[in-house]
């Protein structure tokens, strides 16, 4: 009876993961930087959207469904992009080519900075904005109630993934993206405006993470430490799916989410153990990842 619900919950969770992993893979694929602060942008998107919803939208427009669906998401993502341009982009660009240790220290430092900023601005308590979750109502799925909002997130992210696929494989920008991820030096030698291109990539990755947070907040509260929780799972997904790869982001998010749902049903204590075990097996058997890690 509950199987369709489990499938939908798996797709929902993989939608959020995809948005984080896609951004991580974009940055790794193009810049060859592992950004430990990337999930902080997801968290920032969640905090910003919650604040915009409860402090700006609801007091002025009430529980207007269209307003709740569009405005917090758009404004939240814009805020994440602005923060990324101001703080994240310069640091990532500076880290490029300076070695793994340097990148890890810089991006880890950024993660800590974000955590302290979250506490300074939003305090130590969880912040939530369930308005959209309740406004969109529930449907009957296999005899059980299921939130419409989660179906919306699944559909929204599927369309976004298709759009991203289209841009990657059917546009000039996509060609440049893939070429840069395969051979950044050659791409520069062939006349690519590296500086502007890299900024676009980082902003796009940041927007995806922020979008994930904006879509997440109507379903769950955001709190200190959330970045780390999602980052760890996202990295496992990166490894399983394939580093720096669009297909890897899709495959990794689906596999991690499926494994997670399965272990939560069968043996919840082993949730993380199973994920790490699969990651190790993939690293040993197919180090480039199941989705293939030949760049974006």
């Amino acid at each position: 009876m509950a199987l369709p619900i489990y499938v939908l919950d798996t797709l929902f969770y993989s939608s959020l993961l995809f948005l984080i992993i896609a951004g991580l893979n974009l940055i790794y694929g193009i810049l060859r930087v592992v950004n430990l602060a990337h999930a902080s942008l997801f968290t920032l998107g969640a905090y910003a959207t919650a604040w915009i919803t409860t402090s700006l939208i609801v007091p002025r427009l009430g529980e207007n469904l269209l307003a709740l669906m569009v405005l917090p998401l758009v404004l939240g993502v814009i805020l994440v992009i602005l923060v990324s341009l101001a703080l994240v982009t310069p640091l990532l660009r500076y880290s490029q080519g300076r070695g793994d240790a340097f990148q890890l220290i810089v991006t880890f430092g950024l993660l800590i900075i974000f955590e302290d900023l979250f506490k300074l601005i939003w305090g130590p308590y969880p912040v939530s904005a369930y308005n959209l979750f309740f406004q969109t109502g529930f449907v009957d799925v296999a005899g059980l109630r299921y939130p419409v909002y989660k179906l919306y997130v699944i559909l929204f992210t599927a369309i976004l993934a298709l759009a991203l696929w289209y841009v990657t494989y059917r546009t000039a920008f996509g060609i440049v993206l893939r070429a840069s991820s395969m051979d950044p030096h050659m791409a520069t030698a062939l006349g690519l405006n590296t500086s502007r291109f890299l900024i676009i990539v980082i902003v796009l990755a940041s927007a995806l993470a922020g979008l994930g947070g904006s879509l997440y907040i109507p379903v769950a509260s955001v709190q200190l430490g959330l970045s780390t929780e999602f980052l760890v799972i996202a990295f496992v997904g990166m490894v399983i799916g394939g580093l720096g790869s669009f297909v890897g982001a899709v495959v990794g998010s689906l596999i991690v989410s499926s494994l997670r749902t399965l272990t939560l049903i069968v043996f919840p204590e082993l949730e993380l153990v199973v994920l790490y075990l699969v990651a190790v097996i993939v690293l040993l058997w197919k180090p480039e990842g199941i989705g293939g890690g030949r760049g974006w």
């Binding site: 130590p124 939130p147 430490g225 939560l264």
Partner: protein, 448 residues
């Protein structure tokens, strides 16, 4: 001296309670500030609990300094963070060896109190735990403590109190069969709550009348989408859902569960749902559920009209921090005053500033009137140096004036009904309280 010095001593937590002022001549009081370590989880997922706890300790330190310090000595606090056990231990050692603290107030995590207690004993630093309530601390890790004390009710009291509240409020004794689903965070606290809720259900209701239909063990702060768990609970046909999820985990769970219609099908008994900062449990929280507060304290009780100590504490806390206190706030606040009172009493006996070893006899067997009521420090095993206060739980109800869900119809249980008594001997696995219940409670009888 043992319990003699402390027994019969009833201190009071709060300013303007007759601070002891040493005479100017021959006072034999150091003139240097008293260095006080404060170590609570104010970052990460545990900040929702650790931050209000820290605020309780800070308020006490500020009040004491405003009133002239302890025997004229100003308190100078040194803060370090509480996190995982290894990091917390390292920070504690720095507080002792680098910052040279004289006394330490800390900890909300049950992973940390057993880790820090041996260090406190080794370095001979008086240490007061506001929480980290695991039974393991004084039953297994440090069974004969000298320098370590804890003020929160012991962890097993949580599950026992919640289960007794559920049996009473939900009239479970009248049911032929009770189908119980469990969901607890997968660590020491969750396991402890599960064991003690179950043993009380089975002992009081009868083992053949209690059926466990589901168990969920999400990682602490590691799950944000509880959809799969909620679906499983609904599919299990449970009558009662027992849970010790807390802080953000519980906020997420109950909000999502509202959407799934869980509360229309299942009665929830929580050990700790209302233990977070009171305003966080919003007005959409379903009424009529067991609203746990870690079996310790809820800011509305004892009632303010009849117990000014609580009324005044809540007012001062709110004025300082613009939020209402939690049980962690109260515990940390009382722990600082407990130390102050014992030092003053020791000074009156000795005529000089006491060494840590000389303060200990004035803590063992002592009691202190705090905002929650009277807290007593046990002088003998089992659980020597553990603090005990009457346990409390209640029913969730929305207060229209406050605008959030509160604990209503408080059920106050004498703590001797829910915890293993002083002098009792028995196995420690899983806890002494568990074995005490198995050995001494009468089957089919509700002991409250």
């Amino acid at each position: 001296m043992g319990a003699v010095a402390g027994a019969g001593a009833v201190y009071v937590a709060g300013p303007g309670r007759g601070e002891v002022k040493p005479p100017e001549v021959g006072a034999r009081i150091p003139t240097t500030p008293l260095k006080v370590g404060l170590q609570y989880m104010t970052k990460g997922g545990g900040a929702a609990w650790g931050d209000p706890t820290y605020k309780g300790a800070r308020l006490a330190v500020e009040e004491i300094n405003a009133a002239g310090g302890i025997l004229g000595r100003r308190l100078e606090f040194v803060e370090r963070d509480e996190a995982g056990a290894d990091a917390t231990k390292a920070e504690f050692e720095k507080l002792i060896t680098v910052d040279k603290i004289d006394v330490h107030f800390c900890c909300i995590s049950s992973g940390n109190t057993p880790a820090l207690a041996p260090i406190a004993e080794e370095y001979k630093v008086l240490t007061f735990f506001a929480d980290g309530c695991t039974d393991i601390l004084f039953e297994k890790t440090v069974t004969n403590p000298m320098y370590t004390f804890r003020v929160t009710n012991i962890q097993s009291a949580d599950g026992v109190t919640a289960a007794l509240g559920a049996i009473k409020f939900f009239n479970l004794m009248e049911k032929d069969k009770v189908r119980v689903a469990h969901i607890h965070p997968d660590y020491a606290y969750g396991r402890n709550a599960y064991q003690h809720i179950q043993v009380v259900f089975e002992k009081v209701l009868g083992k053949d009348r209690v059926e466990i239909v589901y168990e969920g063990w999400p990682k602490l702060f590691g799950v944000t989408d509880f959809g799969p768990f909620i679906t499983s609970i609904l599919a299990s046909g449970a009558d009662v859902l027992a849970t010790s999820l807390w802080a953000a985990d519980w906020i997420n769970f109950y909000k999502q569960a509202l959407g799934y219609g869980l509360f229309k099908k299942v009665k929830v008994v929580s050990t700790i749902s209302h233990g977070i900062a009171p305003h966080m449990v919003e007005s959409d929280y379903p009424e009529g559920q067991i609203a746990g507060v870690h079996a310790n304290y809820y800011f509305l009780y004892p009632e303010h009209e009849s117990y000014p100590l609580n009324r005044d504490f809540v007012r001062r806390f709110y004025e300082r921090w613009k939020e209402y206190p939690t049980n962690g706030s109260e515990g940390a606040y009382v722990s600082v005053y407990l130390y102050k009172s014992a030092v003053e009493r020791a000074y009156q006996a000795l005529g000089r500033w006491p060494e840590p070893e000389e303060v200990i006899p004035f803590l063992e067997g002592a009691s202190i009137l705090g905002p929650a009521g009277i807290l007593s420090i046990r002088a003998r095993p089992p659980n020597k140096h553990q603090g005990y206060k009457n346990a409390i739980t209640g029913i969730s109800r929305v207060d229209p004036k406050l605008g959030f869900s509160i604990v209503a119809d408080p059920l106050r249980i004498p703590v001797e009904r829910v915890t293993v008594p002083e002098g009792w001997e028995g196995p420690t696995e899983p806890t002494m309280t568990y074995n005490w219940i198995m050995a001494t409670w009468r089957e089919g009888v509700l002991p409250i």
